[in-house]
């Protein structure tokens, strides 16, 4: 399979977050912060699961270490970078 482009990853991240937030995709800006969007802890682990399934990657996220993220889950661009890195390392 050809590598996903950054635009494709960003679109997928926004679609998955919007689905968890029950928002239209137009309400999730490409530079949005997750705290501002109001994603709770269960929504976060469900979004991570959806990204893992979508891109066949394993995201190293531990809910007990939010301040020491091996994967920056704080912003949409951070998630896109993280997913792109994991795809490249696949």
């Amino acid at each position: 399979m050809t590598a996903a482009t950054r635009a494709e990853i960003e679109a997928a991240v926004i679609t998955i977050l919007a689905a968890q937030l029950l928002l239209p995709v137009s309400d999730v800006a490409p530079d949005a912060r997750l705290d501002d969007l109001g994603l709770d802890s269960l929504g976060k682990v469900e979004a991570i699961f959806a990204l893992e399934e979508r891109f066949a990657i394993s995201i190293p996220f531990n809910a007990n270490e939010p301040d020491l993220p091996e994967f920056d889950f704080a912003t949409v661009p951070g998630i896109v970078d993280g997913v792109a890195g994991l795809i490249a390392a696949r």
């Binding site: 709770d40 802890s41 269960l42 682990v45 991570i48 699961f49 394993s58 996220f61 531990n62 809910a63 007990n64 270490e65 939010p66």
Partner: protein
């Protein structure tokens, strides 16, 4: 009111397959956490747990009965036999005796084995004993059969509060006069591929070690086993000359009614206050807290806050024994009640293992490193569960 005392305890867990071994490990600060050894553990992200290692059920139980027993029942029966022997309980109390046992996952490896057979291996039939093995009341019912107890017998399933709620209900059965003796506690055998795989998704399991109330913690570590306690109406115990280990002085349970997984310190504090009130004690009477202390960020901070709200700045020393026996889920309250007996009977507050550095958001007097000696007259044991459930026991010198 009828007073309830504890006359026997028994356990099988990752530390030892009996109480003396468990007391020694808790006192010496040994951990039962290690690499997982079950089938397909290499396909997991989280590969540690507090397993009951070198478990040979045929060494403890009649071979003819083994096809009926999921590991959760095996652990309960072996722990129950130790508790009944310690109590010197006569067989056949009939309707005056019962069993209330907690379990969260029941016979989960029986589900796993039978699903594997039909879905993965394409077989068209499973063992005819699947249903009686996996039902949540199997451990309680087999204990009733083994010891001739024909009164109230049932399972309590409320995730990590199961055993504490079971013990609270057992206390209430005896107080109300519905029974004179209750076997109670909890049993769990969730350390199988499907059990750990399910937990992994929540991202709350630690890959390295359980470190309750410590900076550097990465979450909880699951443990298997059972703890069974003999609760007995006091005059019934005294009349037959039984050795009394402690009094079950109080119990309370509350529900947060807020979030299905996130803990609420208000609910935890209300349960602690309620248990103290039920025991007729004030916070200053409590000499030790066996915390729920899972080693997750969410629990440890919420629980610390709740302890400070109830006990103020002079809260008694706190231990979490979960880094020793693991988080026994539906059995954990029973392991921790047994650790409370160690504190009451021998004046030993077991250390919280895995500690690295104090968390400024957990302002409790944590017993860590080595055990602390202290004469304590009364202790509380906390259990908080997914589902927003809080269950607190008060035990004291009898």
């Amino acid at each position: 009111m009828r007073r309830v005392v504890i006359t026997g305890i028994g356990t099988v867990n990752a530390l030892a397959k009996d109480v003396p071994g468990t007391f020694a490990a808790l006192t010496e600060g040994r951990s039962g956490i290690g690499p997982l050894g079950f089938r397909d553990a290499d396909r997991l992200t989280i590969r540690i747990g507090a397993e009951v290692r070198d478990w040979d059920p045929a060494a403890h139980l009649p071979a003819a009965n083994l096809p009926l027993y999921d590991p959760v029942t095996q652990y309960a029966l072996v722990a129950g036999a130790e508790a009944v022997a310690m109590a010197g309980l006569p067989f056949g109390l009939g309707a005056r005796g019962g069993v209330i046992l907690g379990t969260a996952a029941g016979g989960i490896s029986t589900w796993e084995d039978s699903y594997r057979a039909v879905f993965a291996e394409g077989r068209n039939r499973v063992s005819p004993l699947v249903v009686p093995r996996l039902m949540h009341n199997a451990p309680a019912s087999h204990l009733s059969i083994a010891h001739g107890l024909q009164g109230p017998v049932f399972a309590v399933s409320s995730a990590c509060a199961s055993a504490n709620q079971a013990m609270g209900l057992a206390l209430q059965q005896i107080r109300s006069g519905a029974a004179d003796v209750m076997l109670t506690g909890g049993a769990e055998a969730m350390l199988c591929f499907g059990g750990v795989k399910a937990w992994e998704g929540l991202r709350v399991l630690a890959p390295d070690m359980c470190r309750p109330f410590s900076l550097g913690r990465k979450g909880m570590v699951i443990g298997d086993g059972a703890g069974v306690l003999v609760f007995e109406e006091e005059s019934h115990a005294r009349a037959r000359g039984a050795t009394v280990l402690a009094e079950v002085a109080g119990f309370a349970m509350t529900a947060d009614a807020r979030d299905i997984v996130a803990p609420d310190p208000d609910g935890a504090a209300a349960a602690m206050r309620g248990a103290l009130a039920d025991a007729g004690l004030s916070p200053a009477d409590i000499g030790h807290i066996n915390a729920h202390g899972t080693g997750t960020l969410a629990n440890d901070r919420s629980e610390s806050l709740a302890i400070v709200r109830v006990f103020g700045d002079h809260a008694p020393p706190v231990s979490s024994t979960k880094a020793a026996h693991g988080h026994g889920i539906g059995a954990t309250g029973a392991f921790e009640a047994i650790a409370c007996i160690l504190a009451l009977s021998r004046g030993i507050l077991p250390p919280t293992l895995g500690f690295q550095a104090p968390d400024p958001e957990c302002r409790v007097d944590l017993v860590h490193g080595v055990a602390r000696g202290a004469r304590v007259n009364a202790v509380i044991s906390n259990a908080f569960a997914f589902g927003g459930l809080n269950a607190v026991l008060v035990l004291r010198q009898a």
